[in-house]
Amino acid sequence: MLRAYSAFIYLFLYAPIALIVVFSFNSGNNASDFQGFGIDWYFKAANNSLMLAALENSIIVAATSSVLATVMGTMAAIALQNVRGPLRVVFDGLTYIAIMVPGIVIGIATLIALVTTFDAANTVLASIWPGEAPPKLSLGYGSIIAAHTLFAMALVIIIVRARIAGMDRSLIEASADLYADPMATFRQVTLPQLMPGIVAGFLLSFTFSFDDFVIAFFVAGSKNTLPIYVFSSIRRGVTPEINAIGTAVMLFSLTALITAQVLLRRGSKQGR
C-alpha cells in the first residue's frame, strides 16, 4: 500500500518531466503526438535567434552573479567565523531569511527598491548633467544580477560555513606551527580546504540564476533571460522546440547540481 503510494508520488513528480524529454525527440510537429524519433527540434532551437539572445543574457547574468556571490559569500562566511554572541545570531537569521523568503517577494521588493532608487537618481543626474541627454538608469542586466547575487550569496555563505564547521581547526594551527603566517596559512591550507564548498556554492549559484524565472521576471526590464523567453513562448503553445530547450537546460542544471553534490561529499570525506 505504502509502496504503491510512493510509486504514485514519484510518477506524478517525474512523469511530466519524462514526457518533455521524450517529446523533445519527436520528429513530428505536434507536441503531444509522437510521430518518430528525431533531433530536428534541437537544431531548430539552436538556430532560433530569439532563443540564442535570451540564452546569451542568461549566461551573462548567471556567470556574473554567481562569481560575485561566490566571492562575497566566501568572504562573509570566513569573516562570520569570528563573530560570536547575539550579533552572530542576527547574521545567521538574516542569511536564512534570504533563502526562505519566496522568490516573488524578493522580486517585487527588489523591483520597488530599484525603481524608486533609479527615479531619484535619474532626477538628480538630469539636473547636474552638463551636456544634452543625461544617462538614465534603468532595469536590465544590473538589476537581475544584483537580485540574483543577493539570493545566491546567502546560499554560498551557508554552504561554505558548513565546510568551515567541518574543517579540522588543528590544520590551521599546524600550519602556523610550521612557520606559515596567517596569509600563507589562508592561501595554502584554509582555501584549499574550503575549495570543494566554494566550487559547490558557485555551481549552485549558477544553476539557481540560470533557472530562475520569478525574480528575473520582475526585475529584468527589457532583457529576456532564457526562462522568461520560454515562458513567453508557451503562451503561443507548447512546441517540441520548447521541449528541446527545456531538456537541454535540465541536462545542464542536473550536471551542475550533481557535480556540486559530489564535491561536497568528497570534500567532507577528505576533511576528516
Binding site: E173, A176, D177, L178, A180, D181, T185, Q188, Q270, G271
Partner: protein
C-alpha cells in the same frame, strides 16, 4: 639530523624551555595557575595528569597557540611572550596528527621548509624531505596521500614534518593515544631513540603514566593547573610528595586515617577501623602533623601472602585476609584480598620466585584464607591530596 643543535646541546646547564609564574585563564577557569619550571636542553620531558589539569594548555603556551595572562615563557633563553606561533623555533606533533589532507606525504613533510624566507631551492627541500622520511623509517612513501597511511605511519609523517625543521623544542600532544597497544609500545621506544639521535628537547603531554615513566628524563605531574611534583621517574615512583602523585604514578594501596604520632622519619596513622599503621615519610614529601589527614601507601608488589601459621619473623604489619579474586598476568598474578580492618587490598605476586612474599602466585585460589602483610619500611606515609 641536527648539526645546528649539536653545538648548543653541548653547553651544559642550558634550559630550552622556562616558565616563570605563568598564569592562563579561560573565562573564570585557571587552566594554568602560577606554574614555574625549567627544562634542560636535550632532555625528554613529560607533563602527566588527568584531562583538564593544564598540561595541554602548558604545551600550547610553549607552541604559541596561547599567550600567558601573566608570567613569562622563555624558549632557549629568549622571552617569547607576544611572539606568534609562526615565529617560534618549536614544532608540534598533534594528537590527531593534523596532516594536510590536500597534500601528499612529501608536501606535508616539506611544508615548514617551504615557508622559510628566503625560499630554499626545490632540490634542497626534496633532499631534506627524503632524509626526514628516512629518519622515521618511511622512505619511498613521499608520493602517497596521507589518508592512505595507517595510524602508525601518519604518526611518523607528523614526526618527520616537525623534525625536518630542526626545532629547538619538539612538542608532542598525546601523540600515541590513537595507536593500539602494541604499536604504542613500539613508538615509545622509537621516540626515545629518535630523541637521543637528534638531541632536541622533547616535551610530551600524556595521561598515560606508563608512557611518561618509560620515556622521560623528567616528569611534571599536574593537577588543577599546578605542578604537584617535578622530578625524574625514579623520584616520582619512590618518593612521591603526596597521595595524588603516588596514585598517578604506578599503583598503590592507600589506607587513610589521621596521624596519631610522628617522629623525625616516620608517622603512625590510625585508620577508621582502629588499626595503627606505621610508615616512613616520603623522602621528598615532607613531614606530617599529628591529627592531620594522611594515608599509608603500599605498592602491590611490596605485600606478601602467607599460609596462616607460616608468617615469617620481621613482618611489621600482618592481617588475616580472604582471597576474593585472581587475575592471571603470565609471569605474575594480581590478587584482590579482603583484609580484616583494611578492606580490599591489591597484591601482586610473581609466578615462581617468592622473594619474601610468601606463597608464590601460582598456588592460590579464590576463597583461600591467608595472612597478608608487609615490612613497614617499604610503605610510605603521605599527606592526602
Amino acid at each position: 639530523m641536527a648539526p645546528g643543535q649539536s653545538q648548543s646541546s653541548s653547553e651544559t646547564g642550558g634550559f630550552d624551555v622556562e616558565f616563570r609564574s605563568v598564569v592562563k585563564h579561560f573565562a573564570d577557569v585557571r587552566a594554568v595557575d602560577d606554574v614555574s619550571f625549567a627544562l634542560k636542553r636535550g632532555s625528554f620531558h613529560s607533563f602527566l595528569g588527568p584531562s583538564g589539569c593544564g598540561k595541554t594548555t602548558s604545551l600550547r603556551l610553549i607552541a604559541g597557540f596561547e599567550q600567558p595572562d601573566s608570567g613569562s615563557v622563555e624558549i632557549a633563553g629568549q622571552s617569547v611572550v607576544g611572539v606568534p606561533a609562526y615565529r617560534r623555533p618549536v614544532n608540534m606533533v598533534f594528537q590527531h596528527y593534523a596532516l594536510f589532507p590536500h597534500m601528499d606525504v612529501a608536501a606535508n613533510v616539506g611544508y615548514g621548509l617551504r615557508q622559510r624566507r628566503p625560499r630554499a631551492d626545490a632540490a634542497e627541500i626534496d633532499k631534506r624531505v627524503a632524509e626526514a622520511l628516512e629518519l622515521v623509517r618511511l622512505p619511498h612513501l613521499g608520493k602517497r596521500r596521507t589518508w592512505e597511511l595507517s595510524g602508525g605511519q601518519q604518526q611518523r609523517v607528523a614526526l618527520a614534518r616537525a623534525l625536518i625543521n630542526r626545532p629547538t623544542v619538539l612538542l608532542l600532544d598525546e601523540p600515541l593515544a590513537a595507536l593500539d597497544r602494541k604499536l604504542r609500545r613500539e613508538m615509545q621506544i622509537e621516540l626515545q631513540n629518535l630523541q637521543r639521535e637528534v638531541g632536541i628537547t622533547f616535551v610530551l603531554v600524556t595521561h598515560d603514566q606508563e608512557e611518561a615513566l618509560s620515556m622521560s628524563d623528567t616528569i611534571g605531574i599536574m593537577k588543577d593547573g599546578r605542578i604537584v611534583q617535578f622530578g625524574t621517574p625514579e623520584e616520582l615512583y619512590d618518593a612521591p610528595v603526596n597521595r595524588y602523585v603516588a596514585d598517578f604514578v604506578g599503583e598503590s594501596n592507600f589506607f587513610s586515617g589521621s596521624v596519631a604520632s610522628c617522629d623525625e622519619v616516620s608517622a603512625a596513622i590510625t585508620t577508621p577501623s582502629g588499626l595503627t599503621l606505621q610508615a616512613p615519610f616520603s623522602r621528598l614529601g615532607g613531614k606530617l602533623q599529628p591529627g592531620s589527614k594522611a594515608a599509608i601507601a603500599v605498592r602491590p608488589e611490596v605485600i606478601g601472602l602467607w599460609q596462616p601459621g607460616a608468617v615469617p619473623a620481621g613482618l611489621d604489619i600482618s592481617r588475616p585476609a580472604r582471597l576474593l579474586n585472581r587475575i592471571y598476568l603470565g609471569d605474575h598474578s594480581e590478587f584482590q584480598v579482603e583484609a580484616d580492618g583494611l578492606g580490599a587490598v591489591l597484591v601482586r605476586l610473581p609466578k615462581h620466585s617468592t622473594e619474601g612474599q610468601g606463597i608464590n602466585g601460582g598456588a592460590l585460589e579464590p576463597g583461600d584464607q591467608v595472612i597478608m602483610g608487609w615490612k613497614r619500611d617499604r610503605a610510605l606515609a603521605l599527606s592526602e591530596a
